[in-house]
């Protein structure tokens, strides 16, 4: 197993990239940091700059404006970088697929490792998704 990838499973630092979501997934991500769920006890920290991030949390459907910026964000992130698509919008475009301003899904812009569906997914679902990701990286 890649040494860098192994180190990454110890403590994942996440950066939150919102691509025109409705805020709910984002609010639930912030909710993860607050006392009831407190993911910092699992070593996960929300960081302010993508250059410190091990994982990108992507929410929402990319539109023409955010599509380019999402690509730039991914290119700026140090590799290896895992991408977690949170919410129905970023997993598939659901009802926004007919919109004139929704050209593609997230996985057409950047490679996605984990999909967490839900509108919005419950914080427990997000924790479970990340736990599965860590197991996958460890090869379990």
């Amino acid at each position: 197993m890649n040494v860098k990838l192994k180190a990454l499973t110890k403590s994942i630092w996440v950066f939150h990239a919102a691509c025109s979501p409705c805020n709910n997934c984002d609010i639930e991500i912030l909710d993860l940091l607050t006392p009831r769920f407190d993911i910092e006890r699992l070593g996960m920290v929300l960081v302010g700059s993508v250059r410190h991030a091990d994982a990108l949390l992507v929410t929402g459907v990319p539109n023409y404006k955010t599509k380019e910026r999402l690509k730039i964000l991914y290119e700026q992130a140090p590799k290896p970088c895992v991408v977690i698509a949170i919410g129905n919008c970023s997993c598939g475009r659901v009802m926004f697929r007919d919109s004139y301003n929704s050209p593609c899904t997230v996985d057409e812009v950047i490679p996605v490792d984990v999909y967490i569906p839900g509108c919005p997914p419950k914080p427990e679902a997000m924790i479970a998704g990340v736990a599965k990701l860590i197991n996958k990286l460890k090869g379990k």
């Binding site: 919102a18 979501p21 409705c22 639930e28 912030l30 607050t34 955010t66 009802m95 926004f96 919109s99």
Partner: protein
């Protein structure tokens, strides 16, 4: 000698959910002008809604904003019921009460959310953690009533989808009882803390005339002494049948905006309690199928201000035109006057004070006008803001 610089903030910022871009023109430390660039959140919802069935649109408009996810569908169904002859004539009474209760629960959770984020922006992370801790029981209530923590899916043309069961009412009442001490704590923390006074008073002042000129709505306008509230001025639901007050403050600074929101927590708790006591038995849905031709408007007081929907129907099963105006749209623009003259570190809280669905709000970046080089990003701004609180604490001799 002046040192003119542009500070870009946005579009990606760790604490604001929505990408939005602010360009601060600064002269030394002072902000001289601000450009607001939006459009990162555009999903074409108005156009999409013209391709959906009348009864599918509430599901769509609910996803305009995740925080006021009861207000947008509510305003939409009000517009449709306006075509049908008015909410009060169409909707069963029990449904009106349920709508009002969910609307007020949403206001409680939204104001607590803002309080937490505002605390974080000025460097009081404890306030953030506490406020969001007290918000969790409210989300549990939503899950109990509607089946989802957010995106309640409660509004439906002619009624509501989920009933409030009798056995759930004690749990709601208990949650309200538990919330009042929490609100007391926040009120005490904000009103008595000298650092918060020093940090928020006189910052980001929007005078009454400016608030009117820039068409601000909701708590932003009420904090500047403009006495408007859709719930009182054009009652919907059962707001005319319960007793409550419109909270108005005169100062117009960030402190007044915080006070308005904290005091509104008590009003909302009062409204919910009265609704639970008065709620009659009966049907919750009028079972409306066809929408006649015509046009209707619906507006509700969302936690951020007036949320307005206009719908035109031509007798088919789809709206011909659906126009939406969300409160943040006007409130964000008022930053153009409120943020000018502030220091950069105060701009963070000033921009956040109107409670713009702000995560969707882009980052601000500071650019050097001569070299076009980025000097600060949004994260640096929050740091600056937090450091200022530290400095004030030190000056006052407070070590917490």
């Amino acid at each position: 000698m002046s040192h003119k610089v542009i500070v870009p903030i946005g579009p990606y910022h760790p604490l604001q959910e929505e990408p939005e871009f602010f360009r601060l023109h600064v002269d030394g430390e002072k902000v001289t002008d601000i450009d607001i660039i939006i459009g990162y959140m555009h999903r074409g919802i108005e156009e999409l809604s013209e391709h959906k069935h009348f009864h599918q649109v509430p599901y769509l408009v609910e996803r305009i904003c995740g925080i006021c996810s009861s207000s947008h569908p509510y305003a939409y169904v009000l517009a449709i019921e306006d075509i049908l002859g008015g909410e009060a004539n169409v909707v069963p009474e029990r449904a009106l009460y349920i709508r009002t209760i969910v609307d007020e629960l949403q206001r409680l959770h939204s104001h607590l959310l803002w309080l937490g984020l505002a605390g974080h922006f000025i460097g009081y992370n404890t306030v953030w953690m506490w406020a969001w801790r007290y918000r969790e029981p409210l989300l549990d209530l939503f899950e109990m009533i509607t089946g989802n923590r957010n995106h309640y899916g409660i509004s439906k043309i002619g009624g509501v989808i989920h009933d409030i069961k009798d056995e759930d009412i004690p749990a709601i009442k208990k949650a309200m009882d538990d919330l009042v001490p929490a609100a007391n704590m926040f009120k005490g923390a904000v009103m008595d803390d000298p650092v918060i006074h020093a940090r928020l008073k006189g910052v980001g002042i929007l005078t009454k005339q400016q608030a009117i000129d820039w068409c601000t709505v909701g708590p932003t306008a009420r904090a500047s002494g403009v006495d408007i509230d859709v719930r009182r001025d054009d009652p919907y639901g059962v707001f005319d049948k319960v007793k409550w007050n419109v909270i108005v403050e005169k100062e117009g600074d960030v402190f007044a905006k915080a006070v308005v929101r904290i005091l509104e927590l008590y009003e909302s708790v009062g409204i919910i309690r009265q609704c639970l006591d008065k709620m009659p038995k009966g049907p919750i849905d009028a079972d409306i199928k066809d929408i006649p031709p015509g046009e209707g408007i619906g507006h509700v007081e969302a936690p951020r201000g007036e949320c307005f929907h206009y719908v035109r129907s031509d007798g088919t099963n789809r709206p011909v035109r659906h126009k939406i105006r969300a409160p943040s749209y006007v409130n964000i623009a008022s930053n153009k006057v409120a943020a000018v003259g502030q220091t950069i570190s105060d701009t963070t809280i000033t921009l956040a004070a109107v409670d713009p669905c702000y995560c969707c709000t882009e980052r601000v970046a500071v650019l050097d006008k001569k070299t076009d080089k980025q000097v600060l990003n949004g994260w640096d701004l929050i740091k600056l803001s937090q450091e200022k609180t530290e400095k004030i604490k030190k000056r006052m001799g407070i070590n917490v």
